[in-house]
Amino acid sequence: MADIIHNANPAADSVASAFPKCVRVESKPHLYCPGCGHPEVLKALGLAIDDLGIQRRVVFGIDIGCSLLAWNYFNLDTVETHHGRTIPTMVGVKRSKPESVAVAYVGDGGAYAIGAGSLLNAAVRNENILVIVVNNALYAMTGGQESPTTLPGMKVATAPYGADQYFIRAPEVIRSVNSTAFVARGITTVLPALRALLKSALQHQMDGKGFAFVEVLAQCPLNWGTMGDPKATIDFLEREMTKEFPVKRY
């Protein structure tokens, strides 16, 4: 985490207004649960888009799951797709209109389970898109089921006695198939650093350098059973999650 803070642009720390300029204010308050990590990721993304002045060029593709609640979050060309199908949709956008900036916004279930084939192959083909994966270690919208990032021993709806020892560290996998991609993992609790990461990832695409992948560790108080206890929520995110999922540039 120290790396990320160190890399952050200090100028980006000053958050003058409550919302990024590209936010669709009419769609607020947002539809996420109190304390959810998604609005933090979306805010960082919106600020990065503002920073780069690319509001008109972005096509924002969102997956099914809690991601879908972002469908009218921004004044951006936005399309909600099917579960696991956002990455190929953005591939089609970018290949057909290279001057657009294609962003796929997906959860850990959408990216690492049902859409894993598309994620991996987009990286193998070095598709010139940005994939943002919000990792909260479970399926949130459908009721807290086990996902490929559920940590060992976590009790979730479909692993009531605790999840097994196996899980995916996706940035490591992406790096193993693509040596030139932009690969990083951020966290919602260090927002300026996340904004800087997303800005760099967008710039990577705009420079035509190929695949950019940012996983963001995010809290889900509802399904973690920590609703109403912010300290427990943040403790799990910053202490437990980061033990297995290092926050850094790869």
Partner: protein, 376 residues
């Protein structure tokens, strides 16, 4: 300039897509459609293809190919895919979204044996899937060509139909036609006075002759103009049953309104013949041959061939069947065309509809002749 060439059906499709000004193709290899991918990858990589900004992507699976196609159409590209059989099953994921949002995707479907992996060249068992697949109510346009020349003609047509009416549009053929070679007249659509419909963007486009709100079902669209720029947000996850009802009814109203303009059919044989045979695709070509052979023996029969399987020429079939004493449905499937025909004729004919079902195997003229010659 038009020219005649002796080529394979799948190549005729590829050349027609090129003549129609298609710019992008996304697909996954599957027999019997793979030569369409081969053709397009060759075009896209050629010097001329690069000049024309052609796009080709071999996807990781058919679902991905379908959604790449949606992304391409979203930004205003005349784009298509080709698949068949189990790949066609997987691609229904994307077709359902295209149906919900009225995205004019074009899919070339080359049917192969079914169910499951089955044989790799021929059947007519994807009629129901093409017309009514997905979790919607079948608002897609499906053409069934019957010759290699028609593969060329109708491939040009499907792009125009898709973009004019904004429904997913399919060319439903099979590996017999796709893999067979024949002389085909290749032409530039402009020579025939065919004007290609423009591919207007849904996203990343500010100039439109038709506003998005006139196309996309209202619950699925939130378009806003901010500082003179329109930002369009599309969704397909709805909150209320009333919204889902609205999507379905708006789509049905739009589909029903244009169906009469889209419907195509063909009749063949002696119009007074009391024996009517209903068939589509390559089976209809076999029926025509049988009708000619029977005529030489002084036996008369006629064909009703739906060219559009969806929307189905129901009224036209009813008129055609009115005075028929015997009605046969012949297809290389069980009860797929049969159900469409029976639904159209329900309550309007008093003679039985006899189905000749040969799932996943070709039907020869002599089989049709035997059918007609058997005592009533």
């Amino acid at each position: 300039m038009s020219e005649k060439k002796f080529i394979m059906g799948n190549e005729a499709i590829g050349r027609a897509a090129r003549a129609a000004g298609a710019r992008a193709m996304f697909g996954y290899p599957i027999t019997p459609s793979s030569e369409i991918l081969h053709f397009w990858s060759g075009e896209a990589g050629s010097e001329q293809g690069k000049k024309d900004n052609l796009v080709f992507t071999q996807a990781e699976d058919e679902a991905a190919a379908g959604f790449m196609l949606i992304g391409s159409v979203l930004v205003g590209t005349r784009a298509f895919t080709a698949t068949g059989g189990p790949g066609h099953v997987i691609m229904q994921d994307a077709f359902a979204m295209a149906e919900a949002m009225r995205f004019p995707i074009v899919a070339i479907v080359m049917q192969r044996g079914g169910p499951s992996t089955s044989t790799v060249v021929y059947s007519q068992s994807e009629v129901t899937l093409a017309c009514f697949g997905g979790n919607g109510n079948g608002y897609r346009i499906v053409y069934s060509p019957a010759s290699i020349q028609e593969l060329y003609d109708y491939t040009i047509k499907v792009f125009n139909t898709a973009w004019k009416y904004r429904f997913p549009t399919m060319l439903l053929s099979d590996g017999y036609l796709g893999k067979m070679m024949d002389e085909v007249e290749l032409y530039d659509p402009a020579e025939r006075g065919i004007v290609m419909e423009p591919a207007e963007p849904y996203s990343q486009g500010q100039v439109r002759t038709r506003p998005l709100a006139a196309i996309v079902p209202s619950p699925e669209l939130d378009a806003r103009v901010v500082d003179g720029v329109e930002y369009a947000c599309f969704r397909n996850c709805l909150n209320f049953e009333e919204e889902a009802l609205a999507v379905n009814m708006e789509t049905k109203t739009a589909f029903d309104a244009v169906a009469p303009e889209i419907i195509e059919y063909e009749e063949y044989g002696d119009k007074d013949a009391s024996t009517l045979i209903i068939a589509h695709g390559i089976v209809s070509a076999s029926v025509k041959q049988a009708i000619d052979n029977l005529k030489e023996k002084g036996v008369f029969a006629r064909l009703f061939r739906p060219i559009t399987l969806n929307p189905f020429p129901a009224e036209q079939l009813r008129t055609s069947a009115k005075n028929a004493k015997r009605i046969f449905v012949a297809e290389s499937a069980v009860g797929q065309l049969g159900k469409l025909a029976a639904h159209a004729l329900c309550g309007t004919v008093s003679v039985p509809i006899v189905e000749y079902s040969r799932p996943s195997i070709g039907i020869l003229p002599k089989e049709i002749e035997a059918l007609v010659m058997q005592p009533a």
